[in-house]
């Protein structure tokens, strides 16, 4: 427990340091990539608990993110301006910001229960279709609300609050907040995995009937996995809303859900390290290929090459980059000279 507080404080300091460093030395364009990577990591590591650990094929992560984004946006607009109106963008107060993220997470978690409950009955492909449908319903319902701006969504979502010493920079404190959440979810997920709950989730994935007859309440555990993933996806949505200052329902199409699954499969389903790496790759590779596209003057080339890379990856390394392994201190100890095996 004391260790947890210490670790979270250390994470806080590290994220502040990172934010400060980037503000001093790095161009804002690159920071934008970094933040999108951060949000992708939160999504991927959360989904990994559902798809990777528990083995439930969920294809609706964008739905949870959408709810989080809209809840966080609306809450902070309401508390900052009092109503939706035009005017300059303002900073959210620290309390408003944190409250909006918490509510975003909770709203998504409630939806996680709603989606997790039918998941008790559906398996494999059927669950994938059902969750995909759920995410689409969420998006379409949001689009249909004129009070939420319809297809154009909500705008003028307040910026993330500043911290002492992080004033005059376009990136603001985005890196700090986003990576603080990244740090938290990676820490919690690693701990979840190495606990009686993690083993129970893996047991369900490996053999559900055996898990149940050994006393693992599969239904309850599956809902728990969904709630966990959804909670963090909601927070990721909230961060995204504060970062982009506006959200449209079409930011959360099924393409995004599929993207998160691709991150997991690419990195290695069931591995947190893999999820992080997958999130980095899927966010970055299309961007890195763009200069190639411009140079050769072939539109869409970057996406073609990206898709080809995915296909080749699945042919030659179907278990993903990391398989089910994790990068941990133990591994370093084994590699370093003089380390014990």
């Amino acid at each position: 427990m004391a260790k947890t507080v210490g670790l979270l404080l250390a994470g806080l300091v590290a994220c502040y340091g990172l934010n400060w460093f980037l503000a001093e030395f790095i161009e804002v364009v690159y920071v934008d990539y970094l933040n999108l990577i951060g949000i992708a990591i939160v999504l991927a590591v959360g989904l990994n608990v559902i798809n990777g650990l528990t083995g439930q094929f969920s294809l609706g992560h964008a739905g949870f993110m959408a709810i989080g984004a809209f809840v966080a946006g609306l809450v902070s607009i309401q508390l900052t301006y009092g109503e939706m109106s035009s005017g300059p963008l303002e900073l959210a107060g620290l309390g408003t910001f944190l409250l909006s993220l918490l509510l975003a997470g909770l709203a998504a978690a409630v939806l996680g229960v709603v989606v997790g409950a039918p998941a008790l009955r559906l398996k494999g492909d059927y669950l994938a279709i059902a969750t995909l449908g759920f995410a689409e319903i969420t998006r379409i319902l949001l689009t249909a609300q004129d009070s939420l701006g319809g297809p154009t969504g909500i705008k003028r979502i307040p910026k993330m609050p500043l911290l002492p010493g992080t004033g005059a920079w376009d990136g603001g404190t985005s890196v700090f907040w986003i990576f603080l959440v990244v740090f938290t979810i990676v820490l919690f997920s690693a701990r979840l995995q190495r606990s009686t709950y993690g083993r129970a989730l893996i047991a369900i994935r490996e053999n559900e009937l055996a898990a149940e007859t050994m006393g693992v309440r599969a239904a309850r555990m599956k809902v728990m996995a969904f709630v966990y993933g959804a909670f963090f996806a909601g927070i990721a949505g909230g961060l995204y809303a504060h970062y982009q200052h506006s959200v449209r329902p079409d930011d959360f199409t099924s393409i995004r859900s599929i993207e998160v699954v691709v991150m997991l499969v690419l990195g290695g389903l069931g591995s947190i390290t893999g999820a992080v790496l997958g999130a980095v790759a899927v966010t970055l590779v299309p961007q890195l290929l763009r200069p190639l596209e411009e140079q050769l003057q072939v539109n869409g080339l970057s996406m073609v090459v990206y898709a080809l890379l995915l296909i080749l990856m699945m042919i030659f390394r179907p278990q993903g980059i990391f398989g089910q392994r994790e990068l941990s201190l133990k591994l370093f100890r084994r590699i370093l000279p003089g380390g014990r095996k």
Partner: protein, 254 residues
């Protein structure tokens, strides 16, 4: 003495097939009870009804005085019934130790936040599960394989690990579904001794399905014979061996 496990008129139909028909069973605490019968007699189906995997079409299962049918498998496990599987069902990606620890999961008295925040309760629970799992692996002679992924275990050891995992649920009754299948003579002798130790030392009542007659006759005190979903005989090994109906079921009639 009241029965620990009692089934009454237990019947299950799959479409037109009556797999188990009016099956009565009474197992008393401390029994080492054999359930035998030719292939397809319905033995595993009985196990599935006892452990909540199948819902019987008719009849009832009582365990420790409580009605079992209608309960989920995890609820039956919580009452104190555990089992192994004819077709081994281990958690292949978990280690041998973790497989056994999963059996102890149902007695965890912590919540998710204890594990996420790594409270003292979390560490105590991990220690409890690890200690218990290690004890049972030692009991089954698997302690030096504890760190191995379960999928790397040789066949005979996989069967033993299933028993260790089932024992980690702290059952009152353990149902073993053909534990000796595929084992050689030496392994079978060792297994017989272990099953006896489970009953005598761990004080767990044993219900055994087994095709190896030498093993069943050697360790069981009571045997019930099932054929085409119906009980055809019940008695001591001696009585069973001399029962003409049993001989007919196994060797065929005239």
């Amino acid at each position: 003495m009241t029965a620990l496990l009692a089934t009454e008129n237990l019947t299950i139909r799959f479409g037109g097939l009556t797999a188990v028909d009016g099956f009565n069973l009474a197992i008393e605490p401390g029994d080492l009870f054999g359930l035998i019968g030719p292939n397809g007699a319905g033995k595993t189906t009985v196990f599935n009804m006892i452990t909540g995997v199948y819902l019987p079409t008719e009849g009832s299962v009582h365990f420790d005085g409580k009605l079992v049918n209608g309960l989920q498998p995890a609820q039956v496990a919580a009452l104190g019934v555990s089992r192994t599987f004819q077709n081994i069902r281990l958690f292949d990606e978990l280690s041998v130790l973790e497989n056994a620890m999963t059996g102890a999961h149902q007695h965890a008295k912590i919540n998710l936040f204890d594990s996420l925040l790594r409270t003292a309760r979390h560490y105590r629970e991990e220690q409890r599960q690890r200690d218990r799992a290690y004890e049972l692996l030692t009991f089954m002679g698997l302690e030096d394989r504890a760190g191995l992924p379960a999928k790397q275990l040789p066949y005979g050891h996989r069967r033993k690990l299933e028993i260790a995992r089932a024992l980690a649920t702290e059952p009152k009754l353990i149902c073993l579904d053909e534990p000796a299948a595929g084992m050689n003579t030496g392994e079978k002798a060792e297994l017989s001794a272990l099953i006896r130790k489970i009953r005598d030392e761990l004080k767990v009542t044993v219900l055994l399905i087994e095709h190896d007659m030498k093993l069943v006759m050697g360790i069981c005190e009571k045997i019930q014979v099932l054929d085409y979903g119906k009980t055809i005989a019940l008695g001591t090994p001696q009585e069973i061996q001399n029962n003409p109906k049993v001989i007919e079921a196994y060797l065929g009639g005239e």
